[in-house]
């Protein structure tokens, strides 16, 4: 070959510790997300949601802006879990499956990386991309908040609620990664996560509370309500939920509804359990996955 070749002095090559490799890989994958059309698309969707919220608030005002707590309780409490699910679907749906489907896995798997390194590195990158979306949504809401409430646009509950939303994001993303490595086909990761977290758990919760009539502590849709209920007073910080019964008359029918509200600590515990089960389950699956 023409030209001077640079040969490496023998013995200088030390494969980095797995921990370092995770960080490196996460950084490369995150850069990949930032450049992707998908990132731009989701940012567009989040901005669109933000614009709709802004328009609704501007039009109706009234109770929506009665207090900063009411405002964030409705829009951050209601909107951020949805943004989290979208982010998980967009960034996690094919994170693992795509490596199989697009044959990019053969590139990574030729490198001295443990399977777990690949999985965790990709998870962190997808999570950071999701956090970026949550931040974008938060910024749009806070801009509204500043407009309506000025100096008191930042209630302390908002900080905690943001953290709760990030915990929720990690749990949903964990589930998405699980599906993504369970089925080596991207479509399943997208569809299952979206169906399960947008409709599935809510339906289940209705069944559990309405028919079985117990506190739905096993459902993540119950746990994530903590993101919104933290804006209510008094705050239930506890590990067990609050039960409220209300009755109303519909025509001649007397309907009693029982509502369960998760304690903040309870919500966090449930979400973390979901994260651990899903992420570890997915990791174990990926450890056994063959690139055939």
């Amino acid at each position: 070959m023409a030209g001077a070749t640079v040969d490496l002095p023998a013995g200088r090559l030390h494969v980095p510790q797995s921990g370092q490799q995770v960080t490196k890989l996460a950084r490369y994958q995150f850069r990949e997300y930032l450049r992707s059309r998908r990132f731009v698309a989701l940012a567009g969707i989040v901005v669109a949601i933000g614009v709709i919220v802004t328009a609704i608030v501007a039009h109706f005002r009234g109770g929506l802006v009665a207090s900063n707590l009411a405002f964030y309780g409705s829009f951050w409490g209601g909107g951020s879990p949805f943004v989290a699910v979208l982010a998980a679907v967009f960034f996690g749906g094919d994170a693992i499956a795509g490596e199989f489907q697009n044959k990019t896995g053969y590139f990574l798997m030729g490198l001295p990386l443990r399977r777990g390194t690949v999985y965790v590195g990709k998870f962190i990158a997808a999570y950071l991309a999701g956090v970026a979306m949550m931040l974008l949504f938060l910024v749009i809401l806070v801009l509204n908040g500043v407009y309506y409430f000025g100096g008191s646009a930042f209630p302390w509950q908002l900080g905690i609620s943001f953290v709760l939303a990030l915990v929720y994001l990690s749990a949903v993303l964990g589930a998405t990664f699980f599906f993504s490595s369970l089925f080596k086909t991207s479509a399943y990761g997208f569809v299952l996560t979206a169906l399960l977290f947008i409709i599935g758990f809510t339906l289940l919760q209705d069944v559990v509370t309405g028919l079985v009539k117990i506190e739905p502590w096993m459902l993540i849709s119950y746990a994530d309500s903590a993101i919104g209920t933290i804006f209510a007073s008094p705050v239930n910080w506890g590990l067990s939920g609050t039960i409220t019964t209300s009755s109303m008359m519909v025509g001649r029918m007397h309907i009693v509804t029982t509502t369960y509200t998760a304690g903040i600590a309870e919500g966090v515990v449930i979400m973390i359990v979901y994260l651990l089960l899903a992420a570890i389950g997915g990791l174990l699956l990926f450890e056994r996955e063959e690139f055939s």
Partner: protein
């Protein structure tokens, strides 16, 4: 320690189908070993088992003595791998993709740029270094994959049909890269369907069929052992000759059993008597003043053996 690859009773079943059946193979030292076999013979399966992309049903695979299944990170640390023509994330440029590989492999930051420039030069992709891989042709991507396998200057190279998708010049370049690599103390294990490529760059060959190893030996031994005493060389000439002329001169030389004109400037000569006879033959050929430019072992020697061995299993 000299580089090595080893398969111990390596077996892979996909469901009921046995893709690889009790492969025992130990390759050690700095050389190039060609890995041959028909479509579906189990070549890629073997290479994937060696690199822990798939898991053995039975047996174990080792790179430099390290079990790939037990410690893939250490086993692959000194290996360069190219299997199944991978896709590279399409938004990356060759510089970025190779930068990532170098970084994850632990190349000192100070050496990275030079090394990347060197390997991109070797695969003739320097001018594409900052273009996105997503728009590359198949052959261009394959060149980047080859560069990625070389960037850390590995001891062991595991290559699955490295020249697939390349144009004729690209194939020649891959050959020349592999030959250069051999000079610098490496073990190269390369599957290929192109026998001339194997004859050209490899020292040894392993042949598998239907998941079974048929033989593993040096190219010289293989050709002399299986050729029924026959050997064959191709003589390249400076000027065209006629078939009559060949029949009257070359075909009558001692030891020669047949001489066929492949094209007006190429004669295939079959003869017996091993190396000594070959030496005499070359001398006599030169003496004929036909304008002999070079005499090479004809690729068909390996081809004949290949076909003969494969058909035996049918």
């Amino acid at each position: 320690m000299s580089p090595s690859l080893e398969a111990r009773d390596l077996t892979k079943q996909f469901g009921r189908f046995t893709a690889l059946n009790g492969l025992n193979l130990k390759i050690e030292g700095t050389k190039c070993v060609g890995f041959l076999g028909p479509n579906g013979a189990g070549k890629t399966t073997t290479l994937k088992l060696l690199t822990d992309m798939i898991f053995p049903t039975r047996g174990e695979a080792f790179i430099n003595g390290v079990s790939s299944r037990r410690d893939r990170k250490r086993a692959l640390g000194d290996a360069g791998v190219l299997i199944e023509s991978p896709e590279i994330y399409s938004s990356l440029t060759p510089n970025e993709a190779l930068g990532m590989v170098a970084d994850l492999r632990g190349l000192p930051a100070a050496d990275r740029r030079d090394r990347i420039r060197t390997v991109l030069g070797e695969v003739k992709m320097t001018e594409w270094a900052d273009q996105k891989v997503g728009r590359f042709s198949k052959g261009m991507k394959q060149r980047i994959n080859i560069a990625a396998a070389l960037v850390h200057d590995p001891d062991v190279l595991i290559l699955d049909e490295p020249s697939t998708g390349l144009d004729p010049r690209g194939m020649a370049e891959v050959r020349s890269i592999v030959r250069d690599l051999k000079k610098s103390q490496r073990l190269i294990f390369m599957s290929s369907h192109i026998l001339s490529e194997v004859v050209d760059v490899c020292d040894e060959v392993a042949l598998i069929d239907k998941g079974k190893l048929l033989f593993y030996d040096s190219l010289d031994n293989v050709t002399s052992r299986f050729a029924d005493g026959h050997q064959s060389v191709d003589a390249m000439l400076a000027r065209p000759v006629g078939a009559d002329q060949v029949g009257q001169t070359v075909a009558t030389l001692p030891g020669v059993s047949s001489a066929t004109l492949l094209d007006p400037r190429r004669i295939r000569i079959k003869f017996t008597g091993g190396l000594a006879a070959q030496e005499r033959l070359v001398e006599a050929l030169v003496g004929l003043h036909l304008g002999v430019l070079q005499v090479t072992e004809s690729e068909s020697a390996l081809e004949e053996i290949y076909l003969q061995q494969i058909s035996r299993g049918d």
